[in-house]
Point group: C2
DNA sequence: TGCGTATTTCGACATTCGTCGATGTGCTGT
DNA sequence: ACAGCACATCGACGAATGTCGAAATACGCA
């Protein structure tokens, strides 16, 4: 039905992808930035989704079909539901290849989230910890 | 009343803190690890909490009293509620100093989350992308 | 001691979320 | 054409979440 809903969390401005936000400790993020970033964190804020995401990310070739990662202790519809959520959050992309559907991680989004959590030049005092 | 509920997300084994988990793409994380890590991501999965966390992290000296960061568009009890959630998740610590309560980020937890999102040596085939 | 300010706790409420079984859709092979 | 497998969608349900106003607690100060 084509409701793919890419929902680009990173404003794909021109060059492709954009880091969304500076590190969290660099300056207080705005309400708008928070809305965007929170959606990414929320997507990883469920144990089942986190396992599915990790399973895809760690799978050989950086991609995996649903059948390869369905063993997470919940029903098949639930797996499908979570994969959809991850896709809507922009963390995964999917592609049908014959009978199977393959998911792979969106590397730029992963990098953007990592950057958010990067501790940049501390306020000097932080180093004393 | 003392129900501080530290809830150490990082198993403070011996040396103080422990990275909780390897990068998500290194190997599929276990159900147990996912439970722990998801709690951290979930804590940042709300826009208001993310703004509060960022406000504390970016504040001068790495700490801030509630009054300094309460301007996020929700009521003051709600701010307190979210700060409590962040504290329970191990992302923030609090300390009362006179009239005010100061919050500061737990740097090791931030680092642990960053490590989770770090893209380590791809499975070799991933480089072909 | 008593007042005012700062922060937390306490219900209460509507909304969202995770889960399931049943059903639908897409593709393959016979 | 049809049966079978892989995956997605639908509808329903209880549980968790975010929010608020009201009240409680903690401190500093007059």
């Amino acid at each position: 039905m084509s409701n793919a809903k890419p929902l680009p969390l990173l404003d794909s401005t021109a060059d492709g992808v954009v880091p969304c936000c500076p590190p969290l400790n660099e300056r207080p993020i705005t309400a708008e930035e928070a809305e965007t970033a929170a959606r990414m964190f929320k997507a990883l804020g469920d144990p089942v989704r986190l396992r599915l995401f990790s399973a895809v990310a760690a799978h050989e070739g950086g991609e995996a079909c649903v059948c390869d990662i369905s063993d997470v202790g919940v029903s098949q519809p639930t797996v499908s539901h979570h994969l959809k959520k991850l896709k809507e959050a922009g963390l995964l992309t999917s592609e049908r290849r014959g009978t199977w559907v393959y998911y792979r991680v969106e590397p730029s989004v992963l990098a953007a989230m990592g950057r958010l959590l990067t501790t940049t030049a501390p306020t000097a005092r932080a180093a004393a910890v």
